[in-house]
C-alpha cells in the first residue's frame, strides 16, 4: 500500500547566530493522520514548524507538500498550500468579534460586506462538520481559552487548511477541554485532514497520535508508530537517557504546622475578589500541592502569603510568627525574615533580573544580608563565592557566575532561583510553577531537590498548573477554583476526579 505523504521534509537546516536550531531534519507525515512531534523545550520543534508555516526561512533543505517541492516564503504562501497553524500564544485580536478574527487576512473583498455573509455561512458549515461551536458575534477576548483556541482552528479551516499544525495546544486547557480538543482532532483526521501536534507532554502523544517523531537538540532522532512505543521509550529518546517520570519518595512524615493560613481574602486591582476565604496549613516534612487551571487565584494566593500583594484579610503564621496580613502593608523582606522563601511563578518577571550577572541574581533580595557586605557596600568576593557554591551544588551550566543571567537556559535560570531561596535554609518554601519552561533533565533535578527539602523537615507549598507534577510531588493536593479551595484530595486520586474539581464541578457532584 503506497501511502500518500502530506508533508515531506528533507535535510532542513536552520541556524540563529551561534545556535543550530534545526540540523538536517527529515520528516514524513502521512496524509490523514495525526502526527506528534515531541521534544524538550529548545529542541527545535517550534522553529521547524515556523519554517513550515513560512515564518522563518530554512538555511537549507527541501520541503515537499503533497509530493510537490515547494518554497514557503511567507505565511501567505503556507496558507495557499493549505497549511494552517494554531500558535501556542493565540494570534487573535482580543477586541474583535470571532467573525472578524476568522476573516482577518481572508476578507473576500475590499469592502467587508462582500465577504462577511459568506464567512458566516462557512462558519456554520464548519461548525456542523467538525463540532466546532463558537458564537461568531462574541468578543474574542471575553471567551474562555478553550473557545479562543477553537477560533484559531476555525481560522485555519476557513482558509482551507488541509494540514493543521498545533503548537503546544493544551498548555492552557483544563483536562476536559483538552479531551474535547482531542475529539475535534480525531474528527478532523477522519475527514481527511492531516494534523501535526507539537507538544512536550507524552501522555497526549499516547492519547491521540498515530505516529510520533522525537526531536532532541535540533535533530530528529526517531519516528515511531504510537501503538508500538511507550512513554518510557519516548522520554528516553527525548533526553538521550533513561529518566524517572515518577518522583521517588518515601511517605511523608508530617510534624508540627510550619505555615498556616486562615481566612485569606485578596481583591485585585480590578476590584475582583480573586482569593476567597482560603484556609489551610502545611506541616513540617510535607509538600502540599495546589492544583488548578491557571487564573483561579493560585498566583494571587502565593503572592499574598509572600507579602508581595496586599490582602484584604487573613492571618498567616510562619514558623510560629503570627502575621495579620490586613493589619499593615507587609513587605516581602519582613515576611522572609520569619523564615519563608519564595520561588515565584514567573522567574523573568519576579525571580530574576535577566540582564544582571549570575552572581548578582544569586543574592537578589538578600543583598542586606551581612554575608553580602557591610553598610552600603557589597562584598563582591563573598557574593561570588556564594554564587559559585550554588552553581556547584545545583549543577548550573555553564558554571560561570559572571555571565549575564539571560544567557542561561530556562532550566538553569530556575536552578539559580532555587539555589538562592533554598540555601538560606527557610522553614517554609513557597514555590510556583517550578518547572515551567524547564527541560526534562532539570525537572528531575528540581523535583528531587524539593523532596529533599521536605525530608529535611521543611514545609513546602507547591503551586503548579501541571497536574502530573502536583500529583507526583505533593503529599496532599488542594484544588483551587474561582478563588476558593474546593477540595482536598490524596495525590493518588484519579485524574478525572481532580480534573472535574479543577473545572469547577461542585464539590457535592465530585464527591
Amino acid at each position: 500500500m503506497s501511502e500518500q505523504l502530506a508533508i515531506e521534509l528533507e535535510g532542513i537546516d536552520k541556524r540563529f547566530g551561534a545556535v543550530q536550531a534545526n540540523k538536517d531534519i527529515n520528516l514524513k507525515v502521512k496524509k490523514g493522520s495525526i502526527h506528534g512531534i515531541v521534544g524538550e523545550n529548545g529542541a527545535g520543534k517550534s522553529t521547524l514548524m515556523s519554517i513550515l508555516y513560512g515564518f522563518y526561512h530554512a538555511d537549507g533543505g527541501e520541503i515537499r507538500v503533497d509530493g510537490k517541492t515547494v518554497t514557503i516564503a511567507s505565511s501567505q504562501a503556507a496558507i495557499a498550500l493549505g497549511i494552517g497553524m494554531v500558535h501556542q500564544h493565540f494570534m487573535l485580536v482580543d477586541n474583535f468579534t470571532v467573525l472578524e478574527n476568522v476573516i482577518l487576512g481572508a476578507e473576500g473583498g475590499a469592502r467587508l460586506s462582500e465577504g462577511i455573509g459568506r464567512a458566516r455561512a462557512e462558519l456554520k458549515r464548519l461548525e456542523a462538520d467538525y463540532d466546532l461551536k463558537v458564537d461568531p458575534d462574541a468578543i474574542t477576548g471575553d471567551l474562555p481559552v478553550g473557545l479562543q483556541q477553537r477560533v484559531e482552528i476555525l481560522k485555519a479551516l476557513f482558509r482551507g487548511a488541509d494540514i493543521l499544525i498545533l503548537d503546544e495546544p493544551t498548555g492552557v486547557l483544563t483536562p476536559p477541554e483538552a479531551d474535547h480538543l482531542f475529539r475535534i482532532l480525531r474528527v478532523l483526521r477522519d475527514e481527511g485532514k492531516t494534523v501535526l501536534l507539537i507538544t512536550h507532554k507524552l501522555r497526549e502523544i499516547m492519547a491521540v497520535t498515530d505516529e510520533v517523531s522525537v526531536m532532541r537538540r535540533g535533530e530528529m532522532v526517531a519516528t515511531r508508530e504510537t501503538s508500538k512505543t511507550s512513554m518510557g521509550e519516548l522520554a528516553e529518546l527525548m533526553v538521550g537517557r533513561r529518566v524517572l517520570l515518577d518522583v521517588e519518595k518515601t511517605p511523608a512524615q508530617p510534624g508540627a504546622p510550619l505555615l498556616s493560613v486562615e481566612g485569606l481574602n485578596v481583591r485585585d486591582a480590578r476590584g475582583v475578589d480573586v482569593v476567597k476565604d482560603v484556609s489551610f496549613e502545611v506541616r513540617a516534612g510535607e509538600i502540599v500541592g495546589i492544583a488548578g487551571v491557571s487564573g483561579n487565584g493560585q498566583s494571587e494566593l502565593l503572592e499574598a502569603i509572600a507579602g508581595i500583594r496586599p490582602a484584604r484579610s487573613g492571618i498567616v503564621t510562619i514558623d510560629g510568627t503570627r502575621i495579620d496580613l490586613a493589619a499593615a502593608r507587609r513587605d516581602p523582606a519582613e515576611i522572609r525574615s520569619y523564615g519563608l522563601a519564595h520561588v515565584p511563578e514567573d522567574r523573568h518577571r519576579m525571580g530574576l533580573v535577566t540582564r544582571f550577572h549570575e552572581y548578582e541574581n544569586a543574592i537578589l533580595g538578600y543583598h542586606r544580608d551581612p554575608a553580602c557586605g557591610r553598610g552600603a557596600f557589597l562584598d563582591l568576593d563573598a557574593i561570588r563565592a556564594t554564587a559559585r557554591a550554588g552553581i556547584e551544588k545545583y549543577d548550573i551550566r555553564p558554571p560561570d557566575c559572571s555571565l549575564k543571567t539571560a544567557n542561561f537556559s530556562g532550566g538553569n535560570q530556575q536552578k539559580i532561583v532555587l539555589a538562592r531561596e533554598i540555601e538560606r535554609d527557610p522553614a517554609v518554601l513557597l514555590v510556583g510553577q517550578p518547572t515551567r519552561g524547564v527541560d526534562i533533565g532539570a525537572i528531575e533535578f528540581i523535583h528531587k531537590r524539593l523532596v529533599a527539602l521536605r525530608d529535611a523537615g521543611k514545609a513546602v507549598l507547591l503551586v503548579s498548573v501541571e497536574l502530573d507534577e502536583v500529583r507526583a510531588l505533593a503529599d496532599r493536593v488542594l484544588v483551587m477554583f474561582d478563588g476558593r479551595v474546593v477540595g482536598e484530595r490524596a495525590p493518588e486520586t484519579a485524574e478525572s476526579e481532580l480534573g472535574l474539581l479543577m473545572a469547577g464541578a461542585t464539590q457535592e457532584a465530585a464527591e
Partner: protein, 322 residues
C-alpha cells in the same frame, strides 16, 4: 441671544476644523500602532508649504497639494524611523516637531524675507467661502434660517471636507478590509503577520493617511482660515488634537465631538475677551486664552475614565524568535 449663540457656534466650526483634521489624521496612525506626537510638526510644515506654494502660484489648490506632499514626506520620515528601523516613536515625533519649527522659519525668512511669514494670499490663492443653495433665500426664516444660512452655509470647502471625513473614516475603519486590518495591526500585529499580511506595508499606508489629513489641516490654517503662513501658527493645535483623540478613545465620531468641544471653548474664549463677566469683572485675556488648555487637562485627568490605547501602540513589531 440666539444670534450670539449662532455666532459662537459658527466660529466653533471654523476653529474645530483643523483640530478635527489633525485628530482624524492621528487616528489612522495610532490605530495602526504607531503613536504620533508629530501631528503638530506635520501641520506646521504643511501650513508653510501651502502658504508658500499658494503665494507663488496664485492657486489655493496647488497650495493644498504642496501642503499634503510635505506632510506625507514628514509622515514617511516618521514611518521610516519607527516602522522600518523600529525607532522610538515618541522621540521621532518630537524630532519632527522641532524640524518643522526650525525649517519653516528658516526657509520662510530665506525665501520671502518677511520675518518668517509668507506673502499674504488673496483671491484664487485662498479658499473662499461657499454659499450653500438657497442660503440667501432662507436667511429670514426664524431659527432654521439662522442655523442653515449662518452656521451650515458660508464655510470654505476644507471645512466641509473635514466634517465629511468623519463618516468616511468610520466607514473605512469598520466597513472595509483595510480598516479591519488597520485595527488588527494596532492591537496584535503578530495576528496580522501570521494571517499572511505585511505589518510594515500596512503601517506605512496608515501613516500616509495621517500625512494626507495633516496636510489638509495645515493648508486650512494658512490658505483658508488665515491669508498666509505665520511663524508657529499651529500654536499647539496638534497637541490639542492628540488630546481630543485620546479623549475620544480613538473613535471617529467621538473625535468629532471632542474637537467641537475644544473649538467651542476657543470660540467662547475669543468672545469673552474684553467683556465684563458678571460678578468677576473683566477677565484677563491670558486667563481666557488658557481656558481650553486648562479644560483639556481637567477633562483628561478626571472625566473620561480609562482611555485604553491600541494595545500594540508605541512598539515596533519584531518577529518573535521562539
Amino acid at each position: 441671544m440666539f444670534d450670539t449663540l449662532i455666532l459662537i457656534l459658527d466660529s466653533t466650526v471654523r476653529l474645530s476644523t483643523p483640530l478635527l483634521l489633525a485628530a482624524l489624521a492621528g487616528l489612522y496612525s495610532e490605530r495602526s500602532g504607531v503613536f504620533d506626537i508629530g501631528l503638530e510638526g506635520k501641520m506646521l510644515g504643511a501650513a508653510f508649504a501651502a502658504g508658500a506654494a499658494a503665494a507663488v502660484t496664485g492657486s489655493a489648490w496647488i497650495g493644498l497639494g504642496a501642503g499634503i506632499l510635505v506632510s506625507i514626506a514628514l509622515a514617511l520620515v516618521h514611518g521610516f524611523a519607527c516602522i522600518t528601523h523600529r525607532g522610538n516613536q515618541i522621540v521621532s515625533g518630537v524630532a519632527i516637531n522641532f524640524l518643522a519649527i526650525g525649517l519653516t522659519a528658516l526657509l520662510g525668512q530665506d525665501w520671502f524675507r518677511q520675518g518668517g511669514r509668507t506673502p499674504p494670499v488673496t483671491g484664487d490663492a485662498r479658499f473662499e467661502t461657499l454659499v450653500l443653495p438657497f442660503a440667501d433665500a432662507l436667511r429670514e426664516v426664524p431659527v432654521i434660517g439662522g442655523i442653515y444660512s449662518e452656521l451650515l452655509s458660508g464655510h470654505n470647502v476644507l471645512v466641509y471636507i473635514a466634517f465629511l471625513a468623519v463618516p468616511f473614516t468610520w466607514w473605512v475603519l469598520f466597513r472595509t478590509r483595510f480598516g479591519l486590518r488597520l485595527r488588527a495591526v494596532g492591537e496584535n500585529p503578530a495576528a496580522v503577520d501570521t494571517a499572511g499580511i505585511s505589518v510594515t506595508w500596512l503601517r506605512y499606508r496608515a501613516v500616509i493617511c495621517t500625512g494626507i489629513l495633516c496636510g489638509i489641516a495645515g493648508a486650512y490654517l494658512s490658505v483658508a482660515q488665515s491669508a498666509g503662513f505665520i511663524k508657529d501658527m499651529t500654536a499647539g493645535k496638534g497637541f490639542i488634537a492628540l488630546a481630543a483623540l485620546i479623549f475620544a478613545k480613538w473613535k471617529p465620531v467621538p473625535v468629532m465631538f471632542a474637537c467641537l468641544l475644544f473649538g467651542f471653548l476657543d470660540a467662547v474664549a475669543i468672545r469673552l475677551q474684553g467683556q465684563q463677566v458678571p460678578g468677576i469683572g473683566e477677565v484677563p485675556v491670558q486667563a481666557i486664552q488658557a481656558l481650553p488648555y486648562i479644560l483639556t487637562v481637567v477633562l483628561l485627568a478626571g472625566f473620561i475614565g480609562r482611555a485604553v490605547p491600541p494595545k500594540a501602540g508605541g512598539t515596533a513589531y519584531v518577529k518573535e524568535r521562539s
